[in-house]
Assembly symmetry: C2
Homo-oligomer: 629 residues x 2
């Protein structure tokens, strides 16, 4: 393929045989799936057989950029990592930014498909289309920043960009992340997949430029997008200044900032210590991804006390997971926790939620000091929280039990612990108590990666953006249709293009499809209408759904933890709200109907035909017994 | 000046006025002082008036390379940092390696003289001869690796090399170091001088090549030196493999590995946990300085337990200061301590020795739990030791009292604490109990920087190298002459050239002067005989001596802590040894005589005239009252 935007080359690496080959990127795949998570899931779907264990040699790990990565499109230095997820057992994708994604393109490839398992620890060095397998025994056990530094020195090239796992990935923690310069492809345990392959790191560097099919049109589209960002009432005046921590204030205002393993949402709202005020006191400059005009990475520095010297940039989700969820209102300890997760290679959301879960078990007497090595693991104990992160990463003591997330931990602990698990499909819940934000909840219940706020964020409910129409966040009616729109739009703009999620929600939701189609068409020379762009997102969500169906998931898995279904919120601005089973059922019915899926949540032949997905039809036929039409 | 080897340019920066200018490097200075510490001390001597406080605006901070820095001479990516030292009140120099020194030459300068005090936190960016002052408010409080990363991102140049201070330097700790990529210009508190100037960092990058006057001769000299390294029985078979930690085994074997604030040397010898064996178990690859064929930086990684994930490369001295000196035999905690000192910007020797000193005070009841915030600060408590490092860096609690080293701490604590201070001229002692190595001791007693093993290392006593002649380490007789040779040879080869100290001692002591003169002559085109090279070292030691005399130092300051003068070693292979006052006096008499100094330790007019040092004569005349001849 010789379209602009893409390098046109796929790198396939076999770790078992330490071999690699190049394949052309097929135009058909580019047109249908665009890039990023689209590419990742398409190759995963086609190549990873049903029933393959996530940590088995047969799983594949796919790093994929899109047609805008490495161009001057703002906020487009993004990539997707995809693999079957050890946490969910289904299709897993996680995205991250930084410089690595653009550099991968400069190094010569749109995507890397990593297969097999190296007999010994290894890292990959990809330089201007040349690939080498380098021994990583000495890197094994290293924190991510040490690994990056040693690799740069090893290669005598300070310009390489490194994505790697930390000790948690080596220990096959289901919560392990892949980190590039403090940017995490964090969720769904993809770091464990990398660890299972004995792959410590991927280092990339190159001098290729990304060609554009129509530079004039591209520059125009880019200017329009920058203008939309400028005109947004949110991006520059607020978001660029405060970053995501401002969402603490927002969610507390809505009464949906989850507290104490979701048992005290609305009752305990630590706005001052954990919100904008607390964060702004510790501000210490911002950092930018490649070609980003915003710089949402707000460094926070602890200047005195127990955690003095820790510097990190905790996003809202991290403040939730190590703050609200654990009952901790000490922001310094959260900054330390965030730093440690980046260094040890852990997903902050799952790790914090799992620690909060263990705290509730401790308070309920299900875990005792015997299991915690004498530690008072109660809500609010930030010292215990920070120590537990290290134990999880190295699988020491109780950390070994918690290292695979709440679902696995509950099954090991028994004694009714599963009642306190806050996960959907195995993935721990992010920082929005969906009892007070029902489209947000419906998306998490139905999306293919589990409790994932990034696969269909209902910014209408959280930020009050009236696009495509204004909504009532407590109302179930109409949320099926909204969720489909949110999921499909996110899928194409943020996961396939892939561009930064924040901008889509905050600046340009109303013109997201137009902007993306303009930029992508100009870059690639393949003409996409806004409608076609939207269809790419829908196609992705259908493909991923079929992947999960193949693995045994059904309507029964599109659900919430017990607590959400049965315990109304006791205080705050969402007081009294919950999502009953009946309400969930009504929302699911509407959602499946809007999607053109059966009442079991299975895509129909008609829907798949209309999206041009014969491979998905064939898969569903193979698993058999499903009601197609 | 247009000789090879040098850039010929001096950068003078005034922080008060945020201005800078270039000056030519004078050939006369190059011929007399060669480079590195020679340049640093010469400018310091000429420009910092007598009586200037080390942390006052009038002090200057001088980064200086030499004629071999940035060339292909092995082990020559070194630089000196010089300033009046807050710890000793005298001339302070500290050297470090890495990539920064070579990059400073590539950026266009042989040395940088930093004057004044910036009104606000600032960092310098020096790029191909262009200098900019950049705001550093956001960097203030950052650990050194964070500072380096943020600066690289800030400048969008991953190839810059950064030397910076950590929180300790900002807090004006007299033990603060200047760190470049984990290489420390560690001793004498030069980090506090940098902090006092509100200078967080210096970033350098450039593309200048270092010209050579006679490339053929240079290559020949280089080959001879590499050959000498190859033939050395120490460099490749041992040193390159084990690094400096092998000195634990060596000094324990000699009964001179100091233990428990020097109270139990010879009785407690933790060879297994802290020596080669313990270190090799934790090995995790090596790192190299620019153009170094050896790679003595041996990374050590903690793989489990309380300190899991810590990675650093503790040198012998650090293993002594946080190990023997504190009675700690937990190597993992020493790896953590080393890491923390690099990140917080502290000298490992002074910090460890000061903590060991506090531990003895605690055991003696001079410090109590009231002062330690309830901590059992006794020998062997590695948890307390690691915590104390952080308290020192941020001046919290007892850390504030300890942050300026043993001498200041003792004067604040009172109650006879000064009896337990292990320092000379204010600088904490390194890891050789000089009671069993008397030339080593004499050098520390007499050299201008205080208890500094690097200004005249008696490798004859420690490693049994019979150059220039074999010695008996318990014998005082003849040590004056040896010490002069050791000090002058070190001064020129390691401090002025400046080349790596290890090689001079371990590979080529017998040909150090020849090698250096060959390499330097070929590089610069200024012809130096080996004798002239040696004289450069002697000149440096005389100049620094006069600097200190000007500040009030005399024979009385060339002494040892009480313990060394009065307590014989109780066990081990140096049992019974100590250095009595009479013995010290005999050694000093011989040393001064060999040096051509008066019995008060003052250089004579004759000596200074023979070295061609009118500036030193003038200074001595100005301070008056001294017996010159």
């Amino acid at each position: 393929m010789s379209a602009g935007g893409y390098t046109g080359k796929v790198l396939r690496v076999n770790l078992t045989h330490q071999s690699y080959c190049e394949e052309p990127l097929k135009q058909e795949i580019a047109r249908q799936y665009l890039g990023g998570a689209g590419f990742g899931l398409k190759y995963l779907f086609d190549e990873v057989p049903m029933g393959t264990g996530a940590l088995e040699e047969g799983n594949k790990l796919i790093f994929a950029t899109g047609p805008l990565t490495g161009t001057k499109a703002p906020c487009a230095s993004r990539m997707s990592v995809a693999a079957k997820s050890p946490l969910t057992g289904g299709a897993g994708v996680a995205l991250s930014g930084g410089y690595f994604p653009a550099e991968l393109k400069f190094a010569g490839y749109d995507l890397i498909i990593i297969e097999g398992k190296s007999p010994k620890p290894v890292y990959l060095y990809i330089r201007n289309g040349m690939v080498s397998f380098r021994p990583a025994a000495k890197l094994w056990g290293m924190k991510t920043s040490d690994c990056e530094r040693v690799i740069k020195n090893d290669l005598r090239n300070q310009n390489v960009r490194v994505a790697c796992i930390g000790p948690a990935g080596e220990q096959l923690s289901y919560m392990a992340a892949i980190i590039n310069e403090r940017h995490a492809a964090g969720r769904k345990g993809l770091g464990a997949v990398m660890g299972s392959k004995n792959l410590k790191a991927v280092a990339v560097w190159g001098e290729n430029e990304v060609a554009l099919a129509d530079k004039g049109a591209f520059d125009n589209a880019r200017r329009r997008m920058l203008q939309a960002m400028k005109e947004s009432p949110v991006v520059y005046p607020k978001f660029s200044r405060h970053g995501t921590p401002m969402t603490v204030d927002v969610t507390c205002g809505l009464g949906i900032f989850p507290a104490a393993n979701w048992s005290r949402t609305g009752e305990w709202e630590p706005i001052e210590p954990l919100g904008m005020e607390g964060n702004n006191k510790r501000k210490s400059g911002k950092e930018y991804c490649y070609n980003c005009p915003v710089g949402c990475t707000q460094n926070k520095l602890v200047r005195n006390g127990r955690y003095a010297g820790y510097l990190s940039a905790p996003e809202f989700e991290t403040i939730y997971s190590f703050g609200g969820q654990t009952g901790v209102d000490n922001l310094d300890s959260i900054i330390a926790a965030d730093y440690l997760c980046d260094e040890l290679g852990l997903d902050t959301i799952s790790t914090g939620v799992t620690i909060g879960f263990a705290m509730e078990l401790f308070e309920k007497g299900i875990l005792t000091k015997k299991e915690t090595d004498g530690v008072e693991l109660c809500f609010g104990n930030h010292v215990a929280m920070v120590e537990m992160i290290k134990k999880i990463a190295f699988r020491e003591g109780l950390g070994d039990i918690l290292a695979d997330g709440t679902r696995v931990a509950a099954s090991k602990i028994g004694k009714g612990a599963e009642k306190y698990c806050m996960h959907i499909k195995g993935l721990e819940l992010p920082g929005y108590d969906v009892r007070g934000a029902k489209a947000h909840g419906l998306s998490m219940a139905t999306t293919y990666t589990g409790a994932d706020h990034n696969r269909g964020y209902a910014f209408q409910e959280i930020f009050g953006v009236p696009v495509p129409y204004p909504v009532d966040r407590f109302e179930a009616e109409g949320k099926g249709k909204l969720t489909k729109w949110n999921q499909d739009m996110r899928a194409v703009t943020c996961d396939c293009a892939p561009m930064c999620a924040f901008l889509m929600d905050m600046a340009v939701p109303q013109i997201a499809a137009e902007n993306t189609s303009d930029l992508v068409s100009a870059a690639t020379g393949i003409s996409f209408t806004p409608e076609e762009i939207y269809l790419v997102g829908e196609r992705l969500n259908n493909l991923a759904r079929v992947f999960n169906i193949r693995e045994g998931m059904r309507r029964k898995d599109d659900t919430f933890p017990e607590r959400i279904l049965t315990e109304p919120l006791k205080a705050g601005n969402s007081k009294g709200q919950y999502i009953s089973r009946q309400e969930l059922d009504r929302m699911l019915d509407e959602y499946y109907r809007e999607r053109g899926w059966t009442s079991e949540g299975v895509p129909t032949r008609k829907k798949l035909e209309s999206l041009g997905m014969p491979e998905a039809i064939k898969s569903l036929e193979e698993v058999g017994g499903l009601n197609f039409d």
